[in-house]
């Protein structure tokens, strides 16, 4: 057998497809219905390449889970807010209709991710670590402090710094 024909590593898309049942569970745990989980998976699959173009993905399955989890959370957030908003508008008899914006992205995702990556990279390395542990791992500031060997107060400052830096990225998502 000619070993040279074997690809060195599966692509992100291949990892995604090979682990689809697990990713489906990740999504469904957040959005609750199988139909929505399917939508999340389709959307997430299309977004994989954007992230991979920005930075080396060291843990392909971990990254697939990250994308699915975050897209699922965004769907869930969108649906929760729209449902509450509709009820609220009925209660206070507002005429303004709820937004029908599907959670689809209009801008060039790759460029936006690259810009965000540059903003995060301009922060001190430990600040970015603290932010990633908070944003991606869902760790509390206290847990992050223990992991990084610093106080929760310092972690709080670091996350605020990262937040403030990202807050300046509105231009990436500003429509109309």
């Amino acid at each position: 057998m000619d070993m040279s024909l074997q690809p060195a590593e599966p692509t992100l898309g291949e990892v995604f497809i090979a682990n689809r049942p697990q990713l489906q569970r990740v999504a469904q745990k957040i959005v609750r219905t199988a139909d929505l989980a399917d939508e999340v998976l389709q959307d997430a699959y299309l977004k994989l390449a954007d992230g991979a173009a920005v930075r080396d993905v060291r843990k392909p399955l971990g990254y697939c889970c990250q994308v699915v989890r975050n897209v699922a959370f965004d769907y869930h957030r969108h649906h929760s807010v729209e449902a509450s908003y509709r009820t609220y508008c009925e209660d206070v008899e507002l005429v303004s209709p709820p937004s029908n914006d599907a959670p689809e992205r209009v801008l060039d995702g790759r460029q936006a991710l690259a810009a965000i990556d540059r903003v995060l990279d301009a922060l001190p390395a430990r600040t970015r670590t603290a932010f990633e542990l908070n944003r991606l791992s869902g760790m509390t500031q206290r847990e992050i402090g223990v992991r990084l060997g610093c106080s929760a107060t310092l972690v709080n400052f670091m996350i605020k710094d990262a937040d403030a830096a990202l807050e300046s990225c509105r231009y990436l998502v500003q429509g109309g």
């Binding site: 991979a52 930075r55 957030r77 206070v92």
Partner: protein, 86 residues
Amino acid sequence: MAPMTKDKDQDPVWQAAWTWVRHQHAQRGSLDDAARDDEFMQWLAADPLHRKAYDEAARLWLLVGLVPPANDVPPPDDAPDPIAGR
């Protein structure tokens, strides 16, 4: 040096929108409650610009979550399956 921060980034509406999105992420275990929050609904319905800023902030927050990590960070505790070593 040209200022990095444009005037519109100082917009209090944008700052409020960003704060709501951050708050909702922190409350993601009970998001339905966070979304029903009366103060949030009042703010959201008060002005179409609030709505627009909120949608933009939510979009930015999602994008931030799609950047591959620079560090070896663990998956969240509530992930259904262990994915260690991959």
